[in-house]
């Protein structure tokens, strides 16, 4: 159960949004829509605990996330704009280290299978891959984070081809089916029914 009450965010002395609140229960998804610069990224960073709101509070299962710290971050997966992969490492190494740091269980072949689903060569260095492949290498982490009850995805559909978008929609639907929660932001409608939509001006 993810709740936000009275959230306010001020960036460079400009109020992006104020008094924002919502409640998300298991199996529900929330789409954050709005033009560029409307505060979508800031809202997602507040929800995952990277950014402190200037007012209001985010609660996870009733407890404020500011006091939960690692207990909360252990249960979420946050994918930001940056693909969060190291150039000098191979896709497989990146994925393994990411899972180990996030405390997610993984096995050798579950990594191989996740990368195969996203058509990312496992043993080539990230710096040799294209921008689209890098993005898919980052998204491959979602296949391994089925145990995380909350996904926070910032513009996940950008720089993806049609096949990638379909694959991602399937993953999100599957995760919701398992009773988890997904919050994702997009600036155009990806054609995925979301139980709640939050329009940022």
């Amino acid at each position: 159960m993810l709740e936000a009450a009275g959230l306010e965010c001020v960036r460079q002395q400009r109020v992006l949004f104020a008094g924002l609140g919502f409640a998300l229960r298991n199996g529900e998804s929330l789409r954050v829509a709005g033009p560029n610069g409307s505060g979508k990224t800031s809202l997602l960073r507040i929800l995952c605990g990277l950014l402190l709101p200037s007012a209001g509070e985010v609660r996870w299962k009733g407890a404020p996330i500011r006091s939960l710290r690692e207990d909360y971050s252990r249960q979420i997966v946050y994918l930001g704009h940056a693909p969060a992969v190291k150039d000098e490492l191979t896709a497989g190494e990146n994925l393994e280290i990411a899972c180990r740091l996030a405390g997610l269980p993984f096995t050798g072949d579950s990594i191989a299978e996740a990368l195969a689903r996203f058509q990312v060569p496992q043993f080539s260095f990230i710096k040799k891959l294209s921008q689209g492949q890098r993005r898919r290498a980052a998204l491959a982490r979602l296949c391994l984070s089925e145990s995380a009850p909350l996904w926070l995805l910032d513009e996940p559909f950008t720089a993806l081809d049609a096949a990638g978008i379909e694959l991602l929609k399937g993953l999100i639907a599957g995760h919701l089916g398992r009773g988890a929660m997904v919050v994702y932001s997009t600036h155009q409608d990806p054609g995925l029914a979301a139980t709640q939509v939050l329009e940022l001006a």
Partner: protein, 222 residues
């Protein structure tokens, strides 16, 4: 907790291995700076012997500070630092693991090569042990204090010079006690007290620095 720390150290060493040139630059800088002083001051052995501890320590301090810029900047740029902030382990442990890995790459080589520089300054061989020990105890403290500065100046323009301005005043006690240890040993008075002080500084830094680095990282990543 420990498993994640081991993973971070393994990752840093793997990255350092793949970018061997960065490791070499910190080491080369140390050797070059230490070799400049005789060129500037003259090669008179007695003089060199008396300035050796101070020069070697200042050179070690500058070269470990030089490589601090890379500590968080690369991970900040490609977004992996965000994932570390949202990892399963407390940020203090992550910060300490990253700083330890940085010390292994930038601090430890200095300790290994310091006796070679001491040879250049005609320092008596008996002092190599104290020199290496004082550097071994001091450079981790320098890395930890430096990591606080690196975290604070993450992503700022003019980061290198600003980092030096923030961190060098805080290096002064370590420099004084470290160089003092070798001088006391040279004077035959025994460097026990100074080495104990360095040990105390190391313990204080281990206890206090992770909180400061974690707080600074959270603030910079906002």
């Amino acid at each position: 907790m420990l498993e994640a720390a081991r993973c971070i150290v393994y990752r840093e060493l793997l990255l350092a291995l793949r970018r061997r040139s960065d490791v070499a630059t910190a080491l080369l800088f140390f050797v070059i700076v230490a070799s400049l002083f005789p060129l500037g001051i003259g090669a008179e052995p007695n003089l060199l012997r008396s300035i050796a501890p101070g020069v070697i320590w200042v050179a070690a301090l500058l070269s470990s500070m030089l490589s601090l810029g890379r500590l968080f900047a690369a991970d900040h740029a490609d977004g992996t630092l965000e994932q570390m902030l949202l990892g399963a382990t407390p940020l203090g442990v992550v910060a300490l693991a990253k700083t330890f890995a940085h010390w292994l790459v930038a601090g430890l080589p200095l300790v290994a090569i310091a006796p070679l520089i001491a040879l250049q300054y005609d320092l008596p061989a008996a002092l190599y042990g104290v020199l290496a020990l004082s550097l071994a105890l001091g450079t981790p403290v320098l890395s930890m204090i430096g990591a606080i500065g690196a975290a604070l100046t993450l992503g700022l323009r003019g980061g290198g010079v600003l980092l030096a301005l923030l961190v060098l005043p805080l290096y002064v006690p370590v420099l004084i006690v470290g160089a003092g240890a070798v001088e006391m040993a040279a004077a035959g008075l025994g460097a026990g007290a100074q080495l104990l002080l360095l040990g105390a500084a190391l313990v204080l830094a281990c206890a206090f620095a992770p909180w400061a680095i974690a707080a600074a990282l959270r603030i910079s990543m906002e």
